[in-house]
Symmetry: C3
Subunit: 477 residues, 3 copies
């Protein structure tokens, strides 16, 4: 009885949600204008009230944007739809921080914005940033109030990290992983003449949970130099220099954060060793390459590469690891879950599909403590899609038939994590006692074994279509 | 003008609020139906608003339930009543997770739900769970997205902990303490023919603060196996097996999470050593018994048993300890407070009374910063009552006259904690200089000493009634 | 376009804000009475609703107080005004905890109250407390549910720290830094006949984030002893003493937390070594003096003194350091930012001015992810002003022309922090490659160097007026 009611509630919720969306759609107004009007009203409120008011505005805008972005979802389907699904993020969930002819910076919205406000509180303080620099460009020096872990997804460049009294410059290439400590003034160069330099960053703010900012010092009016925020007397005294002169220096640069550089300029900033040695307090190398040590797991259907704190010490205090799954076209990952860590996965290349079993999703609309019923969280994967997989949740990723799928994963809370395989040669079920199998499945242990022993591969399997094809071949033979 | 508007809004709100409460009381409706209607309305809201809305519903329901549960409390009394008291929890604050003929699982609501939203934020991420399995039953394998510390409150059983490539099975009995790491697939057996197996668990979620779920893999339709959440193509490819066969395997089991087992089945799953050795990464024993090392403190009026990270390493990274106070009938604990840890106490057996001095309770309704006036937080103790004692708060527990009181305590934030005794042979006041005593109490130091030296016992004292009886005896003599 | 809109929004916000303030001002009511009436109404609400209600009251009161305190700010100015500025706190942001003829305790409101609710969440759990004891007074013993770091800003006293079975008493003097562990019963003496004893404390609550309370045991009716919160039977049994006698002991003291002491009493509580040795678990000295090791940095324009966990181990687990900047009259600090730590600065003596470049302030009124535009956060500094400087934010402090400015800083999250200098002899920009300077500033590297090399001092510079005077002298010559 209770159970039924809950189910109803849930469907009602679904219905209402979509209802809202449709009505939201009908109003033929520009979301941004709508949003600003909404926001203006909030300003009259007391801080507490204003926050809630503003969140509501954000929420409404996002809803509208999503409606415009979507071909009106399949509300009947059992699969949780994107718009109620806090685990999957598309292009539209990124804000554009910087965009010029020569490059752009995109920041994924907070995981706790919108429907993730409760389910993703555990990763509230992690932000995903994607930087793209055109060939032969220079990224103006700046520091962040966040620690940053960087993966070089594409291209060739050089990075310079400046701290009090020392600078470490090193060349970077595809597959490199490195950390930039909070407050380190950093500038980048795309050394290549044709290739984009693409960096995927995980930012971990140090003072405001989930919020960070870039601070540009060496700059002018665009990007604005923070020096310009100080009063004239202060600046004159600080630099022991007259205002006119300072205005000249801090007013010159107007071309933005990404600048075209000449070949000579590029060359002069590229004379660094690959990787390079980090002189800061006996820390390890400036960068390590994820392909360097070869794959941790490797078969015909895919490879897994990984960099953890044992290969690269600067990851230790962040308790973060980085892994890259390259799933062969038509292949899939073995179904598994992680004991402790939450995966923040970014599709670097290729296309595919993702499925996760999720007991928490429907929880909003029912009492906390009930026997879980699992929902499928599904998503199409394409370059730039971000998927969050919390600890304990079983999941699989499948590569499309025509191209390999490359999944970069930032693994948060990684120390002492164990990955538990749910199928294949070495799956957890094989550890159960005969009697336990019998009782748990309600069939003879032998029948359980037959199913769980039928998949002989490990970590990566042939995917649905691969399997289909093989069967067709057998059929023909 | 603006100001006026806000004021109006504000008064309206007030009016509505009280209206709700009154109607809530008058209306002779079933709280649960009322609650569901209330919740349904929330679903239309934006996430932010919905949370607040839903909390309000929760709150109203609880209020009603409490009204029904209580013989209209002594509102005049100085003692804080249960319904404003976030430190004490009764049966009605537990939700029933699973309930079958063969066993049940009950989960205590979040400490930050309702009136604890502010005062207990420090223990938001700890949840209390009580599991009861009937004689000769099997608990279906499942894993949690939480670390768990378990105390065996009653009975004899066996536990099997399955992790990648290894299984540790060991027998458990009353008094055993053990930890299950997040993600470990676990199944339990009640080996006894007559006794219930009762486990008290402290769950510490790893990804969503204060929220966790059980994941059943080896199962069918009830409990639902998470395998069933995945699409058919995925499952067929994963197991390299046709759908029909999988449906058979994952559809069979329909009898719930607790299963009756035959004597043979029980025997086959009970051939484990008591305690057992944990083979996982050089960790200590699978379980330790709290009685093993004898009481830390012991007199005629009670005993204190304890297991901390020095006796059982797996508790270290959780910063948790487990203690058991057995207070002799008519006895009481010495008044004391803890320097750092918060006690989450569960009454295992017996009856009694609890008192705590609390400066925070009344804070809601006055300015943050005022000279504290202490209120008494009191509670009747009976089996299943849960009491939270934050750091710094002086408290006592008294056993009823007819039975011993057994208090199990999960001690959160336990490392480097000091317990400070406020009365008895070795109380803190004895450390004050003469002059300090004089000034602080405004009487000659000697008078202070006379009172503080009058109680010669330590840790456990004769309680009020015991004392009474003794005086009567003296009177008769 | 967007940018314009944002700017407009921001100005509108400013306008509305001040509008509110004016209307708030018109109502000729006493803020405190208004506030209490407001609060009383909240008590009827459900906890959730009550919190919001109470916050609204707090907010309204603070707004009013600010209006009364301010000469109607320069709303047009680019500098962020105090009332939207969560980084600067004045006298009116302190609540008075205790106030008697013989001393007072003032507690700064939570950093997350009001406009800091979002920007200062990172320091939510730190509270600033200022204690002033008149000459020859005794502060009644009490313990806190918080760890405390103390700086002796003025006077001579003695401190007694009482824990189970031991007491450590030592004399304290200006410049001393010491920690009191949560739960330690502490009493203080001002040993001096003329000087006030002034302590600046950083409190770090152990159980309720951002909330702590004092627990008075050795006391009577004022301060109330927590013993009085327990029921008579419990007290009689606890002390094995009849009620009448207990009432006498715990009812006597009525003179408050600060007591006048006779010369003999003072003397008897002052026979302690300076600093003193801490016998607790091999910890370091009871107190260290910040001047002991001499200044870390020192020139004609100022000195910096510091105590970190390497000088004083008890600071390690708190991850806190304490520093004292003494800026010579007319001098200023070198512009700099910290990589990790947040500074909570308290003006101990003197007057001056403060400026900080802040990208986060205006964020409320625009989308999360935009190229930052920096605002100036400015404040007049006078004794008792508290300024918060988050990681990454460039800032300067300037001393007035007539007196030295003494800034005490509690440095939160201090381990592995690096301070980055933005001007002077060794500034970060000097580490940039020639080409990077050229590109970043859009001028020849030489021009950049000329400006950045013009200030030859380090850490402390001549301030604006000093500089002015010098130039005038040169002019006359």
């Amino acid at each position: 009885m209770h159970h039924k009611t809950r189910l109803c509630l849930f469907l009602t919720a679904l219905f209402l949600a979509s209802a809202v969306l449709i009505s939201g759609h009908d109003s033929q107004t520009d979301p941004q204008r709508e949003f600003e009007r909404c926001r203006r009203k909030c300003d009259r409120r007391s801080p507490e009230a204003r926050r809630i008011c503003e969140d509501r505005c954000e929420e409404r805008r996002r809803r509208q944007e999503e409606v415009e972005a979507q071909p009106g979802g399949d509300a009947g389907e059992r699969e949780v739809e994107d718009k109620q699904n806090p685990y999957v993020y598309e292009d539209r969930h990124f804000g554009t921080d910087i965009q010029t002819r020569h490059g752009r910076v995109r920041v994924l919205r907070k995981f706790t914005e919108g429907s993730g406000w409760k389910l993703l509180r555990g990763v509230e303080n992690y932000r995903v940033v994607i930087v793209e620099a055109e060939p032969r460009t220079f990224v103006v020096p700046n520091h962040w109030d966040a620690d940053v872990v960087i993966f070089v997804a594409n291209g060739k460049g050089s990075a310079s990290l400046v701290r009090q009294n020392r600078r470490e410059s090193f060349n970077i290439k595809e597959g490199d992983v490195f950390r930039i400590r909070a407050g380190t003034t950093t500038y980048l160069v795309n050394r290549d003449n044709n290739e984009k330099l693409v960096l995927v960053k995980l930012a971990i703010p140090v003072s405001i949970p989930g919020h960070f900012q870039a601070f540009f010092g060496a700059a002018g009016e665009n990007p604005q130099s923070f020096y310009n925020a100080f009063s004239d007397e202060i600046l004159e005294a600080t630099f022991n220099t007259r205002k006119e002169r300072l205005d000249k220096l801090f007013g010159q640069q107007k071309q933005g954060a990404f600048l075209k550089a000449t070949e000579d300029q590029i060359r002069s900033m590229s004379r660094h060793k690959e990787g390079g040695i980090w002189p800061f307090g006996g820390e390890s190398k400036g960068a390590v390459n994820i392909y360097e040590e070869g794959p941790k797991h490797d078969n015909k259907y895919g490879q897994l590469y990984e960099v953890d704190s044992s290969e690269y010490k600067p990851l230790r205090d962040l308790n973060v690891a980085v892994s890259l799954a390259n799933i062969t076209q038509g292949g899939m990952s073995a179904m598994n879950y992680n004991s402790k860590l939450t995966k923040i996965s970014v599709v670097i290349d290729g296309e595919g599909h993702f499925e996760m079993a999720c007991p928490h999703v429907s929880k909003e609309s029912r009492r906390e403590s009930q026997l879980p019923s699992y929902q499928r969280v599904g998503a199409r994967l394409r370059r730039g899609t971000v998927v969050v997989v919390p600890a304990g949740h079983p999941f699989v990723a499948v590569a499309s038939n025509n191209r390999n799928l490359q999944l970069l994963c930032f693994e948060v809370n990684a120390e002492d994590n164990e990955s538990h395989l749910l199928a294949g040669k070495r799956n957890v079920m094989k550890q159960l006692e005969e009697t336990a199998k019998e009782l748990a499945f309600g069939v003879p242990a032998q029948e359980v074994d037959e199913v769980f022993n039928n998949q002989q591969e490990e970590y990566f399997f042939p995917g649905p279509q691969w399997r289909q094809q093989r069967q067709d071949l057998l059929a023909d033979a």
